[in-house]
């Protein structure tokens, strides 16, 4: 288990974090959003109060810009993997945090956030240029019931020194009543917030974390609400005072497109923090925001697990809901087993997720880190008439796109950007790559030419085998 502060130190150690000193004349979440758009590093906003904010910790570079980009590498680091872990390694690791990940005995440790009580406004959470109140993002809500502790992502606002208005999944709301205590944890270990997102997007928020793999990974501590990670940076203990306040944020965190959520008004009873807390924030509603990336990866992990257990074999190489497309489209790399398999695969994905109604299928040898190739194959391998397949217009509208918000039905689309399995091997055009287009001795000469040069380009790995 990696505590959040250790995770942030690790990012700094990898030269993937830039420190900015206050005062911040530009809203912090605008700075965070611009850094993400520019494929920048994690930002640490250092403030004289000693309460720092960090952005971009769960997101990563824009894959449409960087050849070597692996936008999941930061989260991989946070979950104890190597930063160059494959997407599939990460998806499988995420899956082990949830209910399918076994039922280990929880471990308990002392609460790190044991500092003197402070006012929730003292946290100085970021306030966007057009926001009325400071925003709570990337929070984990914890509620205790007779079954155990339940976690869910929480997103909301600080509307006063002792009042929060938040949105949580309806499944969590259903577990509380007026007067129920709820704890909001900010700056939890990456494994913990990933679990909260995973439970939300799989609509398993009512499953107690004692039945999830995360309990074998993250040491816990009891609070008035429920168990939270002992290494949490800020613990806000609250009481539910209104289950139906008139509140709706203009922006929605990524998970709010997946599950039905509702508002709660919370009375803040106590705020405890570590000595020098570090709080993650997400520029919600902006491109590539952390909450979008977390939602996309948690959803991809779920889909990957489900489709690969569907046929008795595992033909799917990877699944991705890229943050670059704000979760409105699903890419899947798969062995196309037989003619028509691509139709089955697309429709299973539609069945398992309501986020998107467009699926793109690429060949199984297309690596996810080579997203540029994915974005090329869409138009190169798919015939404009034969490989763009639309359903009858009687499908429910997906939740993420902007069109068809009036509950009308419409069509779904899958794009078959993989070779047709009925083609003879001789029909398959070989790819032009450094590996394919030159024999070994010539490649050695080329490498030697550049490597002997001080001004030679940086070495990178060219990905992608050929067919």
């Amino acid at each position: 288990m990696i505590p959040f502060t250790q995770y942030v130190r690790g990012l700094a150690g990898d030269d993937d974090l830039v420190r900015l000193d206050g005062p911040f004349e530009v809203p912090v979440d605008v700075l965070a959003a611009e850094a993400l758009r520019a494929s920048g590093p994690t930002l640490r906003f250092q403030r004289p109060t000693g309460i720092d904010l960090v952005s971009g910790v769960f997101s990563g570079p824009d894959q449409t810009q960087h050849r070597e980009a692996r936008p999941w590498s930061r989260l991989a680091l946070g979950l104890g993997l190597e930063p160059d872990a494959t997407l599939v390694d990460l998806l499988e690791t995420i899956s082990t945090l949830g209910p399918t990940g076994g039922n280990p005995e929880p471990t308990y440790a002392g609460q790190a956030a044991s500092g003197t009580d402070i006012d929730v406004q003292d946290l100085q959470l970021p306030q966007g240029e057009t926001d009325m109140w400071p925003a709570v993002t990337l929070g984990v809500a914890s509620v205790s019931t007779a079954d155990g502790t339940h976690w869910a992502p929480v997103h909301g606002s600080v509307v006063g020194g002792d009042t929060l208005r938040v949105r949580v999944p309806d499944a969590l709301s259903s577990l509380v009543a007026d007067g129920t205590t709820m704890t909001i944890a900010l700056g939890v270990p990456p494994a913990a917030i990933t679990t909260a997102y995973l439970l939300a997007v799989t609509e398993q928020t009512t499953t107690p974390i004692q039945s999830c793999g995360v309990t074998g990974t993250v040491p816990l501590v009891p609070t008035n609400g429920g168990l939270v990670p002992s290494a949490t940076e800020v613990v806000i203990e609250t009481t539910v005072v209104d289950r139906q306040p008139d509140f709706r944020s203009d922006r929605r965190e990524g998970w709010e497109y997946v599950v039905v959520s509702g508002p709660l008004s919370l009375s803040v009873e106590s705020v405890r923090a570590t000595d020098t807390p570090v709080i993650p924030i997400s520029p919600v509603g902006r491109p590539l925001a952390d909450d979008i990336q977390l939602t996309g990866l948690a959803t991809a992990a779920t889909l990957y697990h489900r489709v690969n257990n569907y046929w008795g074999i595992s033909p799917v190489e990877w699944v991705m809901l890229p943050a670059e497309a704000e979760l409105g489209i699903c890419f899947v790399a798969s062995d196309v087993l037989y003619g028509g398999f691509e139709w089955q695969l697309a429709n299973i994905l539609f069945s398992f997720s309501s986020l998107f109604d467009t699926v793109v299928i690429v060949d199984e040898d297309v690596p996810p880190q080579d997203f540029g190739r994915v974005l090329a194959d869409v138009w190169l391998k798919s015939h404009p008439a034969r490989d763009w397949t639309f359903s009858e217009p009687d499908a429910p509208a997906a939740t993420r796109p902007h069109y068809r918000t009036d509950n009308e039905t419409g069509s779904r689309l899958y794009v078959n950007a993989a070779w047709d399995p009925r083609w003879k091997e001789t029909y398959i055009a070989p790819r032009v790559t450094f590996q394919n287009s030159f024999p070994g001795n010539v490649r050695d000469v080329a490498r030697a030419l550049w490597d002997e040069s001080d001004t030679g380009p940086e070495d990178t790995t060219e990905s992608g085998a050929s067919r």
Binding site: A35, Q65, A325, W379, S437, F438, A446, L449
Partner: protein, 501 residues
């Protein structure tokens, strides 16, 4: 001030650290192209191979000279036009469009004032094989010249028509030209010269100055002079000089000019070749024969070549870059001239010929259909399969923004529009065609017709990010640059003009 020759352009790259000369002998047989592909993949300097192994030649090979940086592919070319580095893509397009709207007629110079005539070879002195044409990919049908401008006769213009068609070298005086019917020069040959049994005079211009090289990639309307557009782009007339053995005029500062003619009713093998789609393209076809009558060149000619295929996906090469930096602005000019109020027309970054993104307003219902129909039946007929229309406020040079609009705004039920399903002509190069569909028809077009489509990814006017003002975003970007982030990645800092990256 724009540069006047390939050499001046290479010098410019050198001063900015984007050129790397290799003194050690490098073979034309795959080695030069392998080293170039590595640079293309790694976003490294442009390689110049000063010494060619195994051949006595004063020629030098230059690998993909017009490849731009992956983050700002237009940046090198902007400097070649005399613009500062660091322009945003939108500003670059605006400036180029302004130049293209002010065409300048070329001027002719005498032979003795034309650098491309420093050496003149005719008759028995003609020897194509004395030049180090590269063998570019293992599996290619032969050695190629694939980065040049072809000058052909045009009865409608004084200076002929310019285009680009790859050429496979066969022997000391013959090459096969990939002439695919449907394009202007091939049509002229197949439907005009060859039926009359007449040879068509042609000049292959290698290493022309940047504005000429880019103009050959543009979609200049018939009857208009590419030379004048090149002059507009350069903001100065392009110098032309008459050929030694025919009436054609060629750019005077070119490195090498092959004068000759295409023989009627004669064919030689051409291909397969690792093509701009990023895949090896076959089958081997019979293509018209280019017979070389004269060769003129500068001393120590620089022969640029393109490692086709490396400009797909993240990588850039010369042709993918030139499409983005020249064909895109030119198409924007053309669409506006046709009465369409488009903000920008830009090739999709990852497959620069198959898909274009067009940022436009929609002034009336049916506008996008009309616009797509116009393009498909004129410029985009053969190569382009898709247009993606986005709001005028969306930057079509930003692939993330375009991908997002496709995902969030293009309703599968209402926004995907196919044109004449499998009724439209197609060059036989796309890999989704089976070998049978590609065929080997006499005039080089595909046997199978194809479909074209457009995607309406425009909004109903309400999807732009309004959570921060443009000024706030700009101040944020300035703050981040102060903190050490790379300024080249920010789109709101046009004031950086004049500063080096």
């Amino acid at each position: 001030m724009a540069v006047n020759s390939l050499r001046e352009y290479l010098d410019l790259l050198d001063t900015t650290g984007w050129l790397r000369s290799f003194d050690q002998p490098v073979s034309w047989d795959l080695e030069a192209s392998a080293a170039t592909m590595l640079a293309n993949i790694r976003d490294g300097p442009v390689p110049v191979f000063e010494s060619i192994a195994g051949i006595e030649t004063e020629s030098k090979l230059v690998g993909d000279p017009y490849r731009g940086p992956q983050t700002r592919p237009w940046d090198h070319f902007a400097q070649a036009l005399g613009f500062p580095s660091g322009l945003s893509g939108c500003t670059y397009y605006d400036r180029v469009i302004a130049r293209l709207n002010r065409t300048k007629a070329p001027r002719t110079v005498a032979s003795h004032r034309a650098p491309c005539k420093e050496t003149v070879r005719t008759g028995t002195e003609v020897d194509l094989l004395s030049f180090p044409w590269p063998y570019i990919h293992e599996g290619d049908g032969g050695r190629y010249s694939n980065h040049h401008t072809i000058v052909a006769p045009d009865p409608d213009t004084e200076w002929g028509t310019w285009s680009s068609h790859r050429m496979m070298i066969h022997d000391s005086s013959q090459a096969s030209l990939l002439l695919l019917a449907g394009e202007q020069v091939p049509n002229r040959y197949y439907y005009d010269y060859e039926p009359r049994g007449e040879p068509m005079p042609v000049a292959v211009v290698i290493g022309a100055e940047p504005t000429v090289e880019s103009t050959a990639d543009m979609w200049i309307p018939t009857g208009r002079s590419e030379a004048a557009f090149a002059g507009g782009l350069k903001n100065a007339p392009v110098d032309l000089v008459q050929c030694e053995t025919n009436d054609l005029y060629v750019p005077a500062t070119a490195e090498l000019v092959l004068e000759g003619h295409v023989r009627p009713d004669d064919r030689l093998d051409e291909g397969p070749f690792g093509d701009y789609f990023g895949y090896m393209n076959g089958p081997r076809r019979s293509m018209p024969v280019f017979e070389v009558d004269a060769i003129t060149h500068r001393h120590e000619p620089r022969l640029p070549f393109c490692v086709e295929g490396s400009g797909v996906g993240y990588g850039q090469n010369s042709t993918s870059t030139l499409r983005l930096v020249a064909a895109g602005p030119d198409a924007t000019v053309g669409l506006r001239a046709a009465g369409f109020d488009v903000a920008m027309a830009v090739p999709w970054r990852f497959t620069s010929r198959t898909v274009w993104v067009i940022a436009t307003d929609r002034p009336y219902p049916g506008y996008l259909h009309e616009l797509a129909n116009f393009i498909f039946t004129t410029w985009g007929m053969l190569h382009i399969d898709f247009f993606v229309f986005v709001d005028a406020a969306v930057d079509p040079l930003d692939p993330r923004a375009v991908l997002t609009t496709i995902a969030l705004e293009a309703d599968p039920d209402a926004d995907f529009h196919q044109f004449g399903v499998e009724r439209m002509p197609k060059v036989p190069l796309n890999i989704y065609q089976t070998p049978d569909e590609k065929g080997s028809a006499d005039v080089g077009t595909s046997k199978a017709k194809t479909a074209k489509a457009y995607i309406d990814a425009t909004t109903d006017g309400d999807a732009t990010d309004t959570t921060a003002t443009a000024e706030t975003r700009k101040r944020a970007q300035e703050r981040l640059v102060e903190a050490g982030l790379d300024a080249a990645r920010f789109d709101r800092l046009d004031e950086r003009e004049g500063k080096s990256q």
